[in-house]
Subunit: 409 residues, 2 copies
């Protein structure tokens, strides 16, 4: 079961003016399952995205990149579960294009104004005709209050739906932000994907939107790991409909930008952390703070070395303070000229290591106490600079192997 | 149980003239356990080594590097199990030095002629006094025919001892090579280590010996992975006593060099593969061949991405040909400008993927047949160059989690 993931309250997922969501069943993999989501954006909306760096990226990812580069006005998104349309070559690309054409025709927009997304098993042909047949039903279901249903529709083997919503004030106007995500790890069983969608009715310039999506992804979705496997389909999309009536946020030095950025970050982090809380087989939620680095990149490198180490993660599963494993991971984290004698390792408020070895005042029972918690923080102080980064991960249990060794469901 | 690892035959482990081995019990962690090994080299011997790149490297690793740089004549090695003497700071360094001094005194050599090694739990102080107390017994036990016993003495949680031996002819003289290794993965439970020792009575120049140890380590111990965790103590030492009577091998273009190199490589690979066959929880032995790369580094990067992916390894454990996971790992392997449409993926003799997707003639039952074997090869043809590399790994089972989640034994 997910680690301390609160149950979603549909009434707390605020509609975003200018964005409607519609759900349908296409039977991509399982008959009757709600597996198609269409999002329609009002005229004048803007969108920006970040995508997987996997070179075997899925056909829809390639199309999204191209459509976002082509036009300033994305008007619709279409998501299917049950099949990732990855490792499908030219044929997969053409099938994803067909879906864009079919949706564009029905919504009276151009195919380049559609962003397609797929999630599920890879190396299997996408049943595009089934998805196209379901588009009318999804369009008939379009409404702004469908976020809760949408969060369910994009789940594959997620145990719980993931969504977050917030209202802020910009320029005297109330602005809403609502987002959903899916994923039970950086990688789902069978190579399905992490997907995140965050919409606001704020007016935001395209340049600022792009800055916001990259900056917040770096500090949320790009700061989590379950198993170190980077999916073929990861996508995070930020949309702004501009219907809140605020003066367009176009200056990254303005107070409104900071307010908006903080809200985007808060929701992105909530959605990203929800993926870890629902991580495959997870029993513990682990926050790794790396401080005092020369740059953010080396802090992330140290955090990820710890966060993806099977030895650290199995020790945490067992509540065993076998903390040498953390030092070992720091040691192979590929940070140049790291002086291990200068760093400190903390477990919550317990100092574990300093001066290159175990801290003289460290007591095993203190480590044991922290390890038994379901929420644990590790803090590494590199003591060589002023930068920091935080990585979120979960432990590694029998159930991770069980979930991933099960035959493709 | 280890995967297809033959039982050692003590009569097939040939003594190496000029090298004696002695074993004793120091009670480092468990009373009565044979946990100390001393190796004594005759005058005129040479040694060369490669060590972990982990920055939290153990105190003995730092001393080995320094002693190998100081002197051309290493005369003794001392190994203890039960404690890695890593993450122990200056105090750990001094304790390892004390052991070198004590052994040097007893063997009438200088402390800089001793190489110390430790393997076991990290972040715990090394009981140096216990080890020093056991040195006389180990020295009393010194004899050339002790390789089988030595292979057992360096085990920690290895299920089986690991050794290999071979005779070749150089310059008309019979030359013997014998080696031992330990490790049940790149990392043992509790951060113990991979250790490898290979000795020959051939006469070999120091430069050639150094070349041989690096070249063969790259193609053996540095081509295996169980869990991607690089230990704090990994060491591989090549020793040459020069007692076989051959003309010193000093030219890397000579026929003798090639004969010796091939024999060193064969034994190194046997010892390295034995570690994978005895990998934590392993049920399958997997060989990953990556061909057609621009350089060896990118071939290794692709091989390691596949070989350390928990998703690939759990699918192999389940005998599930969920082969999209292999494509996904290739895709995130950080190879620059990789054109995924050009590559081919084979499972033994079954072509699985080409042209960026599943091969049209691939049948699930063919993949299933191969996956059910205990020995499986994956071949990736990058089709962009003439270089290649091979990585060996094992699958990822419930027992991996069990072994590593157990309290430190």
């Amino acid at each position: 079961m997910p680690v301390n993931l609160p149950t979603l309250d549909p009434s707390q997922l605020f509609p975003v003016a200018g964005l409607e969501l519609g759900i349908a069943s296409a039977g991509v993999k399982t008959a009757g399952r709600k597996d198609v989501l269409v999002m329609r954006l009002a005229k004048g909306s803007r969108a920006a995205g970040v995508f997987t760096l996997n070179k075997f990226c899925a056909a829809p990812v390639r199309i999204c990149r191209s459509h976002l580069a082509d036009t300033g006005e994305i008007r619709a998104l279409v998501v299917n579960t049950g099949n990732a349309n990855a490792g499908t070559g030219l044929d997969g690309y053409e099938r994803a294009k067909e879906i864009c054409f079919a949706l564009a025709e029905r919504l009276d927009i151009s195919p380049a104004q559609v962003l397609p997304f797929s999630t599920g098993v890879i190396l299997e042909p996408l049943p595009a005709a089934k998805i196209i047949d379901a588009l009318d039903a999804a369009i008939g279901d379009l409404k702004p209050a469908n976020w809760f249903e949408a969060a369910h529709a994009i789940m594959t083997t997620d145990v719980a739906p993931k969504a977050a919503s917030k209202k802020i004030v910009l320029d005297g106007k109330t602005v809403t932000l609502t987002g959903i995500s899916k994923g039970a790890g950086m990688i789902h069983p069978n190579m399905a994907t992490m997907l995140g969608y965050l919409a606001t009715d704020a007016a935001v310039s395209q340049a600022v939107l792009q800055e916001l999506v990259s900056w917040s992804a770096d500090r949320s979705f790009n700061s989590i790991t379950v198993d170190g496997d980077t999916s073929t389909n990861d996508s995070f999309i930020l949309m702004a409909t501009g219907q809140a009536g605020n003066t367009e946020v176009a200056d990254t030095h303005s107070a409104d930008f900071i307010t908006l950025r903080d809200a985007v970050l808060e929701i992105s982090q909530t959605l990203a952390k929800a993926i870890i809380r629902d991580g495959e087989g997870a029993t513990k939620f682990i926050t790794i703070n790396v401080e005092g680095g020369i740059d953010r990149a080396e802090c992330k490198a140290v955090g990820y070395a710890i966060g993806r180490s099977p030895l650290v993660k199995t020790a945490f599963f067992a509540s065993d303070p076998n903390l040498g494993r953390i030092l070992c991971a720091i040691g192979y984290s590929q940070v140049e000229n790291l002086d291990v004698d200068k760093l400190e390792v903390w477990l919550d408020d317990v100092l574990v290591a300093k001066d290159g070895g175990r801290y003289a005042g460290y007591k095993e029972e203190d480590g044991q106490r922290v390890l038994k918690q379901s929420e644990i923080s590790i803090t590494v102080k590199l003591n060589r600079g002023a930068e920091s980064a935080t990585i979120w991960t979960c432990d590694f249990s029998y159930d991770y192997v069980k979930i991933n060794a099960d035959y493709r469901s």
